[in-house]
């Protein structure tokens, strides 16, 4: 089973103009992945599926991940010679950088014919607001059909080239995308007088005066049978 670097080199040889890079995975499982550009994605996928040495014929898992804007503070230590001739001081300069957020679709590919392990592809969208399209790989593997619809339903990534892109888990009239990090759950709330924690705050916010219909708890609290 070739390492991601070897696969990247073979792909670059095969598709000269494509931007393909390896994304390292620090976890002990060391499952590194290949970041693909949008243009050649479908051809690369078809090549990975039909290549005799790889034969990645099963797309086992399609996942969406939401990476919102992140403020990255890079502290660089630089030694500045002290003008007054004293020992050189170490100065930490903090550069604040806003890393633009993006939505990512991850594909785990396996080979049933040769039985070897995951080759992971990553496709990233431009940003999280308007450029949210990613080429769909359903034409290459039908396994992605339902899972890509789920990514569209829960993350809002529009997969171009998908035969039937509709919501799959939420109902069609649902507007928001629940799995995004900045998703605010609807505040539909039914009276529930449990007197503790955030449930209590929610109750107070919704029902300043508890509705009269609240069932009157029987006075005698009979202890549950031991």
């Amino acid at each position: 089973m070739e390492t991601p670097e070897q696969i990247r080199d073979r792909l670059l040889a095969r598709f000269p103009g494509a931007e393909i890079s390896v994304v390292a995975n620090p976890a002990p499982a060391a499952q590194h992945s290949l970041l693909l550009g949008h243009a050649p994605a479908v051809e690369i996928a078809r090549f990975l599926r039909d290549d005799p040495t790889l034969k990645l014929d099963q797309c086992s898992n399609v996942t969406g991940i939401d990476w919102p804007e992140k403020e990255i503070v890079e502290t660089t230590k630089s030694t500045v010679p002290d003008p007054a001739g004293g020992p050189p001081k170490v100065v930490e300069t903090k550069i604040k950088r806003i890393q633009p957020g993006y939505l990512e679709v991850v594909y785990h590919l396996y080979s049933i014919a040769l039985g070897h392990g995951p080759v992971i592809l990553r496709l990233r969208t431009g940003n999280r607001t308007d450029a949210v399209t990613v080429p769909s790989l359903t034409p290459v593997w039908r396994a992605c059909e339902f899972q890509e619809r789920e990514v569209f339903d829960l993350f809002g990534v529009v997969l171009t080239g998908h035969p039937d892109l509709r919501r799959i888990l939420m109902w069609d009239a649902f507007k928001d995308f629940p799995m995004r990090r900045d998703y605010v759950a609807p505040d539909d709330y039914e009276w529930e007088p449990t007197p503790h924690g955030d449930v209590l705050e929610k109750a107070k916010r919704h029902y300043p005066v508890p509705p009269a219909a609240a069932p009157v708890a029987p006075a005698a609290q009979e202890a549950p049978k031991a």
Binding site: Q31, A143, I168, W171
Partner: protein, 390 residues
């Protein structure tokens, strides 16, 4: 076809039956089977377009049991999600736990002691027995037997659930496995109970097969129905007994050889036609193989710690990174994809549910069959809505 306004909120005039005029076939009947239908195994809905008896189009609609298990997992700790994995495929909680535990162990590089690996294999194979027995019962119930095979299947299931209850405390919601081992060390008489169960299970399977496998009516109803070609199965990501019924030799216990499966010798049955009868037979033959594995595992289970001493129960913070762990669940390949950013809560927690992906080919199998067959084909796919909708 008109715009798709089948969402539950859209107002539905009259019953869910609409005449659809298709120039090619004349009067088509569009019927919505489910979400509350006796034969759809839970809240699953099929919008079937019928030309008389024949199925022309079949659109599965699910999401009725969607509780966004993955969002909940992002707001609780790694350990906190373990009891929720029981609720995914609520028939096989042990294999769900194991899949999650393997994924987290891959993410954090947590070693697992010998005895725990053996116990995990034993519990996974017992869960496979339970799931395949239940499936055979439900499938025959769809074929029309008035409950007899289902009751026999449930009689055996009770014995297995008693074993789970005496080990983990709850029949179906076991919450038994931890990262780096298991929660409770099975006692000696529990292991004897498991040995007794596996020895008697062969007799039950023989009786079950004499009742069903040779039955001419079942052969007439299921052979040649809902055939699936191997190429389509592989391409559509179908896994588990449904894939092996089409003849593709792909069993993660042999391919990945995770846990200690490499120490046991067992065979993987393969079908030839990929129809409903093959899927039923593959599951019965797999049960016989599971009995062999169980007998070997129960015979050679080593002593030793059940939990890795260095495993941290609370304050578990895997380093940043991601991992995808998968096992051969009774319904197919169940996988967990975890992305961690060093905090006690997972950054992204994704479940790869086998029955959800296996449903991709439901329409391909049902086209051209009669509506009675569509019910059986759905039964043979073996879906559990907790896992499909998550």
């Amino acid at each position: 076809m008109s715009a798709n306004d089948f969402s539950p909120l859209a107002p539905q005039a009259g019953s869910h039956v609409r005449e659809v005029h298709d120039p090619l076939h004349g009067e088509l009947l569009e019927v919505s089977m489910g979400p509350h239908h006796p034969s759809t195994h839970g809240v699953f809905r099929m919008i079937v377009t019928l030309d008389g008896e024949r199925v022309m189009k079949l659109k599965p609609v699910f999401g009725y049991l969607h509780r966004n298990h993955e969002k909940i997992a992002e707001n609780t700790t790694y350990l906190g999600s373990m009891p929720y994995t029981d609720r995914l495929d609520y028939l096989c909680s042990m294999t769900n736990n194991w899949a999650y535990a393997i994924a987290v162990e891959k993410l954090s590089g947590q070693p697992v002691p010998e005895r725990a690996e053996y116990v995990r294999v034993i519990l996974a194979e017992i869960t496979r027995l339970l799931n395949h027995t239940c499936l055979a019962g439900f499938l025959m119930q769809d074929c029309g037997c008035s409950g007899t095979p289902l009751m026999y299947a449930f009689r055996e299931r009770e014995k297995i659930l008693d074993l789970f209850e005496s080990l983990s405390g709850s029949r179906m919601m076991c919450n038994y496995q931890r990262f780096g081992g298991c929660r409770v060390d099975p006692s000696a008489d529990w292991l004897d109970g498991a040995r007794k169960l596996t020895d008697n299970y062969g007799r039950f399977l023989d009786e079950f097969e004499t009742l069903l496998t040779g039955n001419e009516i079942i052969m007439a109803r299921t052979q040649g129905v809902g055939a699936l070609s191997p190429e389509l199965a592989i391409n559509a990501g179908v896994t588990g007994p449904m894939l092996r019924a089409t003849g593709v030799n792909y069993d993660l216990r042999k391919v990945d050889a995770y846990g200690v499966y490499s120490r046991f010798d067992f065979r993987v049955p393969l079908g030839a036609h990929g129809d409903v009868y093959d899927r039923y037979m593959i599951r019965v033959l797999e049960m016989r193989e599971s009995i062999k594995i169980l007998q070997q595992a129960l015979a050679t289970i080593p002593a030793g710690p059940i939990m890795d001493p260095k495993a941290k129960l609370r304050g578990f913070r895997p380093k940043a990174g991601e991992a995808y762990g998968r096992i051969e669940g009774p319904k197919g390949e169940i996988g967990f994809y975890l992305v961690s950013d060093g905090s006690p809560n997972p950054y992204r927690y994704r479940v790869r549910p086998p029955s959800f992906v296996n449903l991709t080919v439901l329409e391909d199998m049902c086209l051209g069959q009669t509506i009675a067959d569509a019910v059986i084909i759905l039964g043979s796919v073996d879906i559990v809505l907790g896992e499909v909708d998550r």
